[in-house]
Amino acid sequence: MQTALRTSLPETELASRANFAPAARVAREDRQERQVHTSGLPLSIRGLRKSFGDNEVLRGIDLHIPAGQFVAIVGKSGCGKSTLLRLIAGLEKIDAGSISFGDAAIQPEDIRVMFQEPRLLPWARVLSNVEVGLGRDRSSGDAHARAEKALTEVGLVDKRDQWPSVLSGGQKQRVALARALVSRPRVLAFDEPLGALDALTRISMQRLLERVWRDQGFTAILVTHDVAEAVALADRVLVIDEGRVAHDVMVNVARPRERGSAELASLEGSILSHLLSADDRT
């Protein structure tokens, strides 16, 4: 763990220098301070391809994500966002190309995914659902304590003994977040985790996501339909089109970000126009 951290740092440094060159000094200083105790893993994707039968979904994705960066992925429906995420999480087989996480030897517990559905076990109490996230440490002595701590982080420790069926949609999603966080992952991938929530719950969940990401410093990859959400949360927004990264937009806006500010709105507008132009072509 320690060596992995050290070897991954210089690479991060380089990448962030390259990416952040001109603008947003504030944002950069902010992140560099955080990187001192980051536990994120950098992610490099080279020439990644994936097809299902004749359907060529990903046609050569090249991408580097520095450790601890928050990346949002947008694109029209069916463009392969979920497929990319599932490949990163190791849920699908790679056809060609590679995905690597720095030089570190990674554990299964280092990479976690959160889906649009909470996928909680209805027959397990909230706390045991969170314990599931510990992976191979499930049976260790401090499993309870660690699960409780993760529940505290998402503000649901008082629901520890409830059945999932009595929770609201937003609460279920928070339990799913706690389950993803409990093993202290170094890469956390989200596939439209807030898609099914109402507007208000969405905003409070977005705040929660941002907070845990800042506290824990994992590398975050968020697939979303909501461009406003993408620019509000992410350091960087990737637009996927025709199986490639069509646009790579830095969001150099200092945090905490003000929702609906002119800066975010103009970024959102330009990303939306990318998406729409992609849509017009088809």
Binding site: A89, L91, P108, E109, R112, V113, F115, E117, R119, L121, P122, W123, A124, V132, G133, G135, R136, W163, S165, V166, R179
Partner: protein, 268 residues
């Protein structure tokens, strides 16, 4: 005084007790009407004896020890047959739900056997086993097998694939996946199978005991018919009804205990 007491009691303290009584109102009323109808001669005693006569016959048989012995024999046959048929059905359900190979190998055969009404096998079973215990056990086991097999299989096949994927992502081993995800997910369906099987279990046993037995409740009823003891015949039928109800209640309690997570079983 008592009025104030009952008012100050929390509502939910009294509700279950009232509930427990409510379901017995109709059976008790039927018995009362029946008694009146018999005593006034509205229903001839040769057609249907009065409940008091049935109770008296029951009391006599109880004293002679015959009743307990026959109930015990029937109960024993029912449970052993259920255990044997149920476990085999459960095992096949598990195997065919979890393994494609096993399903390919046996499912078609089992579906074919299922289409033969098991009671149609009675003549054959008597030829094989005589009117021995094993004949009854075989029939009960066969009858119980299919509902449990089919519902276990269905339960396992319909466990939410997203939950299974979740289990795999979080590094569950096959055993753990079964224990934590697949089995609990299949349990509601398995219980449906158990409830069905309990009904079939009694039905099979009654038929088998009336046709081929030298003990048990069905045999008792058939004997009584030969000697025109209609009160004993009615008594046997009532006991069957009670035993059936008892088995059903037992499975409900079990269901409530194991499925307490299920929204349908909460706060009721």
């Amino acid at each position: 005084m008592s009025l104030i007491d009952s008012v100050s009691l929390p509502r939910n303290f009294r509700l279950p007790r009232v509930d427990g009584l409510v379901q017995w109102i109709v059976p008790l009323a039927i018995i009362a009407i029946w008694q009146v109808a018999s005593v006034t001669g509205f229903v001839p005693v040769r057609v249907l004896p009065a409940p008091s006569d049935v109770a008296l016959a029951g009391w006599k048989l109880l004293l002679s020890g015959e009743l307990i012995r026959n109930i015990w024999v029937s109960f024993w046959r029912a449970s052993i047959g259920f255990l044997i048929g149920g476990s085999i059905g459960f095992a096949f359900g598990l195997a065919n739900g979890l393994s494609q190979l096993s399903a390919k190998l046996t499912d078609t055969t089992l579906q074919m056997v299922r289409n033969v009404p098991h009671l149609a096998l009675i003549p054959l079973v008597i030829l094989w086993f005589g009117i021995d215990e094993s004949a009854k056990l075989f029939l009960v086991a066969l009858g119980v097998f299919f509902p449990i097999y089919l519902n276990t299989l269905h339960g396992i096949r319909t466990v939410d694939p997203q939950l299974i994927e979740m289990g795999r992502i979080y590094g569950m081993s096959d055993g753990e996946l079964f224990r934590r995800v697949i089995f609990p997910g299949a349990l509601p369906s398995i219980f449906v199978g158990i409830r069905f099987a309990l009904g079939i279990m009694w039905l099979t046993l009654i038929v088998a005991e009336t046709i081929a037995a030298s003990s048990g409740l069905g045999y008792m009823a058939m004997q009584a018919r030969e000697f025109m003891l209609i009160d004993v015949v009615v008594l046997s039928i009532l006991i069957y009804a009670l035993l059936g109800k008892l088995a059903d209640s037992a499975s409900r309690v079990l269901e409530r205990l194991t499925l307490s997570w299920h929204p349908a079983f909460q706060k009721r």
